[in-house]
Amino acid sequence: MGALEDFATMAAKRQGGPGPEDEGRRRALPPRLGVLVARHPYLRRHPHPAVSHFPIVFMLAASFFSVLYLLTGVTSFETTAFHCLGGGLLSTPAAIATGIFTQRLNYPQPDPTLTLEKRLSYLLWAMVSGAFAWRLLDPEVLRHLHGLNFFYLLLVLALTPLVTVISFFGGMLTFPLDKEE
């Protein structure tokens, strides 16, 4: 049909936009949760975008402060990077949980993009957990950058492209690119 239809269909495919067939699934929410969402409508969509800010920035900041330490030699930057890893470690499960909640509530249709986003988020959490544990057990890991320790740096740096890809998919759900063209 018209352009509206095309855009809506694309959005429905990408966003799993709720159609009439999804109403039943929405109603399938546990009663208490349903009441809570009805009373506080912002809980329907806001929690995931709000929470996901944290892992995104913490992961990027961990990479950035690590590089800043290597460039300047200021050790407090390395400690800040470690704290950012901790922030990422704590906030990623919250982002995953709210993401799953948002998906179940608003985009119940199976969507390969959302599945990929979820899998990459699990990988991100595994990586940040590994890096955090490594740094916790060996606080000098970045100060003696040789041999196996080099992989620690790679691990921390790899957080940046990974979280960028995940947030790109998230951004496309909120502001679909095909609607901008």
Partner: protein
């Protein structure tokens, strides 16, 4: 009653897809169209087998045949039988979507912007910018939401790490709080500039309440953040003076960042995910 028999449908001209070209579209309304009052329009809400009509900038469109308007609802957020002009800025698509639907009349109490008012808000974008945005459509809406992640998280983290230091006595938490403060101060002007760009490009500089509030609070946030950062830079032991008023004022400055940035973030989110759409 069938909406499609009310008058002969006409197809409004396409606006070439770009929301930028809102400025260039025709503003006069056809005179021979059926006129709907808001009350009449409200009856045509797609419920109970009735046609689904929507109004936008004074024009009334029939969306009854659209699967995405089934039951008079679109994306569970917009409802037929109403004037959607005010909701349109929230939509991630441009006006070109209306080209696919028959116009069945005009709204009697037309809220369409007069031509003069429209011309006043903002001019068409310069040619190079138009070309750039066509080549990289990502730049239309994404820069501001991308950038604002940084001041939000950094300014929230600043008081958290500082309080963590006060609770644990671990000095590196205080330093991390200060580094986060620096990050927030660095990224706030970038967020401000991208926000102004987005406002101009997508909202035609209209004085929307959330935008006005953000425009007032963001400079305050920047001022408080930059002041606290400079203070801590000049006096690294400032928090050690917590029993004195100087230390208390510094801590208060850090703590005030949290509600300030939360309010700004809240109003920003209300533009992306409008509350009325959630009800």
């Amino acid at each position: 009653m069938s909406g499609r028999t009310l008058c002969s449908p006409t197809m409004p001209g396409r606006t070439q897809g770009s929301p930028l070209q809102k400025h260039k579209k025709e503003t006069s309304l056809p005179e021979d169209q059926k006129k709907f009052t808001l009350k009449e329009l409200a009856q045509l809400n797609g419920a109970g087998g009735r046609p689904a009509f929507i109004a936008y900038r004074g024009r009334v469109y029939d969306v009854s045949d659209s699967a995405r308007w089934a039951g008079g609802k679109h994306m569970a957020a917009h409802f037929a039988g109403a004037d959607l002009t005010g909701e349109f800025p929230d939509a991630p698509h441009g006006e070109e979507v209306f080209a696919g639907y028959p116009q069945v009349g005009v709204l009697q109490t037309s809220p369409e912007l007069p031509e003069t008012q429209e011309a006043e808000v903002s001019g068409p974008p310069p040619g190079f910018l138009d070309r750039l945005l066509k080549r990289f459509p990502l730049l239309k809406r994404h820069p501001h939401p991308m950038v604002v992640h940084f001041p939000i998280v950094f300014f929230v983290s600043t008081p958290i790490f500082t309080i963590l230091y006060l609770l644990t006595g671990i000095g590196s938490f205080e330093t991390t709080g200060w580094h986060c403060l620096g990050g927030g101060v660095l990224f706030t002007p970038v967020a401000l500039v991208t926000g102004l760009f987005t406002w101009w490009l997508n909202y035609e500089l209209r004085p929307l309440r959330p935008v006005v509030i953000k425009l007032i609070l963001t400079p305050i946030l920047l001022l408080v953040g930059a002041g606290a950062f400079a203070w801590r830079w000049l006096d690294p032991e400032i928090l050690a003076q917590l029993p004195y008023w100087t230390g208390k004022v510094y801590l208060a400055l850090l703590c005030v960042l949290l509600p300030l940035v939360s309010l700004i973030g809240w109003y920003g989110a209300s533009l992306t995910f409008p509350r009325h759409a959630e009800k």
